[in-house]
């Protein structure tokens, strides 16, 4: 493996370590998980092509986020409709918030969070899991979830809030115990 390939592998490995962070950023701008994942895949192709433009010593997350931002803009242009003023203002505000506050987590920290999350999700009841999957995997509306699991819209809203809170609390406890 020559120096160029080694550098590419290093950059790509580092970029892939931020995949979920980048999906979160793209999702905040696109309002859709699948579209955000596609955008991050495209961004990773750009990273592979332009790895030599990354300047060592600068923030890898910020560099990748800039690439994702360009891919998001490209997708929005492909949607063939003009953005409303509210959408443009919101995109700018989200971009600024991530620029200011999205900090890179250490890789081992991210992995331990993920493992804790997987453990905590196993403690969720079967019905609760169905509600979560309907919202997070199938992206159903509250109304559609209600129809699927036989709950009212208000009950779905409350259940989602409660389950997410429980899972989050469980993750924080697991991480606290580990430390």
């Amino acid at each position: 493996m020559d120096d160029s390939e080694a550098q590419r592998d290093r950059v790509l490995r580092a970029a892939l370590g931020y995949r979920v962070e980048l999906v979160a950023y793209a999702r905040a701008l696109l309002g859709n998980y699948t579209a955000a994942e596609d955008v991050v895949q495209e961004a990773m192709l750009v990273v592979m092509k332009k790895f030599d433009q990354f300047r060592e010593g600068t923030s890898m997350l910020a560099w990748c986020r800039a690439i994702v931002r360009l891919e998001v803009l490209r997708v929005k242009q492909q949607r063939r409709r003009e953005q409303t003023l509210a959408e443009r203002l919101l995109d700018d505000a989200i971009d600024a918030a991530f620029e200011e506050l999205q900090k890179a987590r250490r890789r081992d920290d991210a992995e331990s969070r993920r493992e804790a999350l997987e453990r905590c999700l196993q403690r969720v009841s079967q019905r609760g899991r169905r509600v979560l999957e309907a919202r997070f995997v199938d992206e159903l509306s509250y109304q559609q979830i209600g129809e699927r699991v036989g709950m009212t819209v208000e009950a779905v809203r409350k259940a989602l809030f409660r389950i997410k809170k429980q899972v989050r609390s469980c993750v924080e406890t697991c991480l606290g115990d580990a430390q």
Binding site: G31, D38, L90
Partner: protein, 455 residues
């Protein structure tokens, strides 16, 4: 729910593209003005995405044996997930695999992504009818005024620019969507038809849609799910009025998430301050009178309130076509909102009171539709300038028998009714051409006078 719950729910819904324009504005304001809101937003988004990532990954591991589901997806014409998309293992493993086959992956990913995406310029519908001034915005924001029947469109926004505007779009499965008057509609079809009616009136004749992919129609206040039916919907600022002719349509009110199925020959008003109960479409009436004193509701023109000495008025406003012709027009919605439909009888008359600054030829017209919402034409009559006096009020009674099909619809003469009788009046309009004659309307009335009765 508490403020904290509302805030988290706002973020939750934003991440799924469910916010209204006003909610987007609110979220942008909060993020701009409150540093703790920004911090919490970023943290919530990261948390929600991590949770989604884990849930989807565990879901994918189950899906790898769901062959029937994959088959259904393929049969529905949807792209199957590629191996790289389906096998989403933890980033560490994915990185190793990707690094090992980096060069091959570039080619494979590029190819798979290429085949996953629908062609950006793929037509989804065809223009099958149009009339009057219209504006189409599509193709990355390009604006087009020169629309023609038969043109294929790949999604975009159509806007009717005058009370007499009319536009019919036919999707590849034969479903049609028609707007009339000052309406604005965005259409898309990426495997599921999604229409956004920003304002005005839309009628649809929808072929059976897949059960899991109904046609979705969004207004500011409601979501309509249509599986195959005939309907007409009107989007006002704070309300959506739906009339169903055939089949049924599910309506969900955004303000509280409540939903109702509206059966054939029923209507419902989805508004925050109304009970959302389907009611039978009221019987038609043959009498109608404008109510300009109540405000510029469902009107086009410059509205002036009444005073002690003057009645409320609607002044003509100009629209200049790309060909350079200027029309000074006023329009009033008739069978609109939650009012009963107004139909015309052969003896019906149109009474118009108003004022004109300088004598000019005036066009008086009506736009009509079938009971099922389908466009049925525009009919008009022209009064010469010598019937009007400079700077004076006028009152004129027009027999509907005198009204003729608008010449601009001559190409559709065989398909449209030859007269407007027994049809539903959608709008009444009057205009002058090329010259600002200062036309103002203070009252319009449709009266069902029988032949021989006094005016």
């Amino acid at each position: 729910m508490s403020d904290a719950n509302d805030w988290h729910e706002l973020i939750d819904r934003h991440l799924r593209g469910e916010l209204s324009e006003s909610e987007k504005e609110r979220l942008a304001e909060l993020l701009d003005s409150d540093s703790s809101a920004r911090e919490d937003f970023v943290e919530q988004v990261r948390w929600d995405t991590r949770l989604a990532d884990v849930l989807r990954e565990s879901g994918n591991s189950h899906e790898s044996v769901r062959e029937p589901e994959a088959k259904e997806t393929a049969e529905a014409g949807l792209p199957l997930p590629t191996e790289t998309m389906r096998a989403r293992t933890p980033a560490k493993t994915f990185a190793k695999a990707l690094l090992a086959v980096a060069a091959i992956t570039i080619v494979a990913l590029t190819a798979s992504l290429y085949f996953q995406r629908p062609s950006a310029g793929q037509p989804i519908a065809k223009i099958t009818g149009l009339s009057g001034p219209l504006q189409w915005t599509g193709d990355g924001g390009r604006v087009d005024f020169d629309l023609r029947v038969g043109a294929e469109l790949a999604g975009g926004t159509v806007e009717g620019l005058a009370p007499g505007s009319w536009f019919e779009l036919t999707f590849s499965d034969g479903s049609t969507a028609t707007i009339s008057g000052n309406s604005m509609l965005t259409v898309s079809d990426q495997g599921q038809k999604k229409l956004h009616l920003k304002a005005g009136n839309l009628s649809g004749k929808v072929k059976p849609q897949p059960a899991d992919k109904p046609m979705l129609i969004y207004t500011r206040s409601a979501l309509l799910e249509v599986l195959g039916t005939q309907f007409e919907v009107e989007a006002e600022t704070a309300a959506t009025i739906l009339n169903v002719s055939e089949g049924s349509v599910r309506v969900t009110r955004f303000s509280d998430g409540s939903a109702v199925d509206v059966p054939a020959r029923h209507r419902v008003v989805a508004a925050a301050d109304r009970d959302m109960l389907p009611k039978p479409v009221p019987n038609s009436v043959s009498q109608w009178k404008s109510e300009l004193s109540l405000g510029p509701v469902l009107t086009q023109g410059k509205w002036s309130p009444g005073t002690d000495t003057e009645e409320a008025k609607l002044g003509a406003i100009p629209y200049t076509s790309p060909q350079g012709m200027t029309i000074y027009t006023t329009g009033l919605g008739v069978s609109r909102g939650d009012k009963p439909p107004v139909t015309l009888r052969p003896a019906s008359r149109l009474r118009v009171r108003g004022r004109i600054t300088s004598p000019h030829k005036v066009y008086f017209g009506i736009t009509v539709r079938q009971a099922n919402g389908a466009f049925a034409g525009r009919f008009q009559t022209i009064r010469p300038a010598d019937e009007f006096r400079s700077g004076q009020d006028f009152g004129i009674t027009l027999h509907l028998r005198e009204f003729r099909l608008d010449p601009s619809l001559a190409s559709l003469k065989q398909e449209l009714p030859s007269d407007p009788f027994h049809l539903v009046v959608e709008t009444v309009w009057c205009h002058t051409l090329d010259k600002q004659a200062g036309l103002e309307i203070s009252e319009v009335e449709l009266v069902p006078a029988v032949d021989g009765a006094s005016q």
